[in-house]
Subunit: 329 residues, 2 copies
């Protein structure tokens, strides 16, 4: 395993300290329990947004804490759920009297721990469950996973909360964005979890993992390595069959890298995916390309499409000031 | 070779199209010859900044085109210098009557082609040569390479040009920032250039390349793999011996990833590097952490330190609106 690391036990702690120090104008780190919160809290009465999950997906979620997006993020150990005491402490630290909205990716551990926190929390709260990964069928026993679409939920609901939407409205909006969003990813390599010290799964030199999860989980199927156009066609078709965007429909197209895929390749993927939908009359109204929802050092990428309406475009364009997404602020 | 690619010949062209489309609010792509320019040009009389170099270092330089930074960037093929016709066409396209400042990383091909363009260009122009890589001695036959410090020159001089500094002032400022800046990098793996199809250099499982260049050039020395603290100490000492920051000196600390190193590791490196200088009384006044000057899919990172004065801090903080750096705009 070749990584910049001292010990497996100290990696997350020291990395969080570095993150908080490098972005001290935007965030603060709370020790014991760990959470990242906005350096400047929102206005009194504002609904506060809290997300979290296993680490190793940076910049998700800590990089999305700040004006117009999350109020706090709770990082677990790598690929390990955070614990309810983190969410409770974060909620109490950032509460502005308008209630707490938890944004939770659909993984059993995350769901359970956020549920416990939601039940224990003495502040009105609601939860948006994100399950945008269409690589698994809707009827899958544990449901579909939450992947790169999560940041779109966080960005848009964050803007609504900043503008004064109440808890019920934020919850309804988050559910609506989740239902309008579909993602699927492909891996060219596995990631290497530090505590394991070797790649999570084996993949031959001429193979790729289609429909991969963001924790190195096996995907829908292992396929022979294909060229970029064939890969994008495969991914885009899976999303298109799910969301069925009609000609004239405005969409947000998000190309996400899993950590080790260069921008030159991500922009190629974006070019091909944009072509795919434009040929079908779909309007690419907004775009985001980069490594945002990563899986440590995995080479691979995902496509995410969100069907947009005017409100969602306005919320996407609203000012945001976080470590990883910043505009208009 | 596992990459998202159709053909080696079409990769750059299609990727540039994707980049320009994804960031159409900020940049435009010119075909034949290739350059990226600001979608909204600056004010009449403004000095325009043009950089460029081989592709494969994204977001450098195309991701730094926009308000408060570059006016145009000329991308060559991967790790290959752009040609003088690209710089000439870019200069004519973005000229605002205040002259042209070329910002050139010190590589023989880049230097030669920018010199030819500078001589042919019928617009007053000057050149800032960036050579911040302290892994080579000052007396090296071809001089020191330009690496991650380049973006700091581009950001600060871009802010000065936006505020109305004339060509001589921009040139002097760029030279001063370059002299105040030192970088050094380390690679854990080689990158794979698509046209070559295999790693550029061999590195054992227990080895690292210290003082590596951003094109997969061999570095200062191949050393046994060490832990993060030892690596950061090694890098920081090389920079510290060069710049000799005194206690109380304000600095910008930039931790740059080479493309395949996760943010969790880059933030650990930042934490350790900040500690190194703070223990010596140096003030980390500004910070930047991320994959900005990359080397395709190389795992590795570099440290860059810039000695700051009040003017440089003001220029760093000034609004910037590019694909890869964005604040205050």
């Amino acid at each position: 395993m070749k990584k910049f690391i001292n010990t497996i036990d100290s990696l997350l702690e020291d990395s969080l300290k570095g993150f908080a120090k490098a972005h001290a104008d935007i965030v603060e780190l709370n020790q014991e329990p760990h959470f990242i919160k906005r350096a400047k809290l929102g206005s009194p009465g504002k609904v506060v947004l809290i997300s979290g999950g296993g680490s190793g997906h940076e910049p998700l979620h800590s990089g999305f804490v700040g004006l117009g997006m999350l109020d706090a993020a709770c990082p677990g150990q790598i690929f390990t759920s955070p614990t309810p005491d983190q969410m409770l402490a974060a909620a109490e630290a950032v509460d502005q009297g308008g209630g707490v909205l938890f944004i939770v990716k659909n993984y059993a551990g995350d769901v359970m721990n956020f549920e416990i926190a939601a039940e224990m929390l003495e502040i009105p709260n609601a939860t948006v469950l994100v399950n945008d990964d269409v690589s698994l069928p809707k009827t899958h026993s544990i449901g579909r996973r939450g992947v790169a679409g999560t940041l779109i939920v966080e960005k848009m609901v964050g803007a609504a909360a900043e503008a004064g939407a109440d808890l019920a409205a934020c919850k309804a909006l988050g559910d609506r964005i989740n239902q309008s969003t579909a993602s699927i990813g492909v891996a060219l390599t596995s990631c290497t979890v530090p505590a394991l010290g070797k790649p999570t799964f084996d993949l031959g030199d001429q193979e790729m993992e289609m429909g991969v999860g963001i924790h190195g989980e096996h995907g829908r199927e292992t396929l022979p390595l294909a060229n970029a156009s064939e890969i994008v066609e495969h991914l885009a078709r899976a999303i298109d069959e799910e969301l069925k965007p009609q000609p004239g429909q405005s969409v947000l197209l998000h190309v996400n890298g899993f950590g080790a895929t260069p921008l030159i390749e991500l922009h190629l993927i974006y070019h091909l995916a944009a072509q795919y939908w434009e040929q079908r009359g779909v309007v690419i109204a907004r775009s985001l390309v980069g490594n945002f929802t990563t899986s440590l050092d995995m080479a691979g990428a995902s496509l995410t499409l969100t069907l947009l309406d005017e409100e969602m475009i306005r919320l996407w364009d609203a000012p945001v000031n976080t470590a990883a997404l910043r505009w208009g602020a």
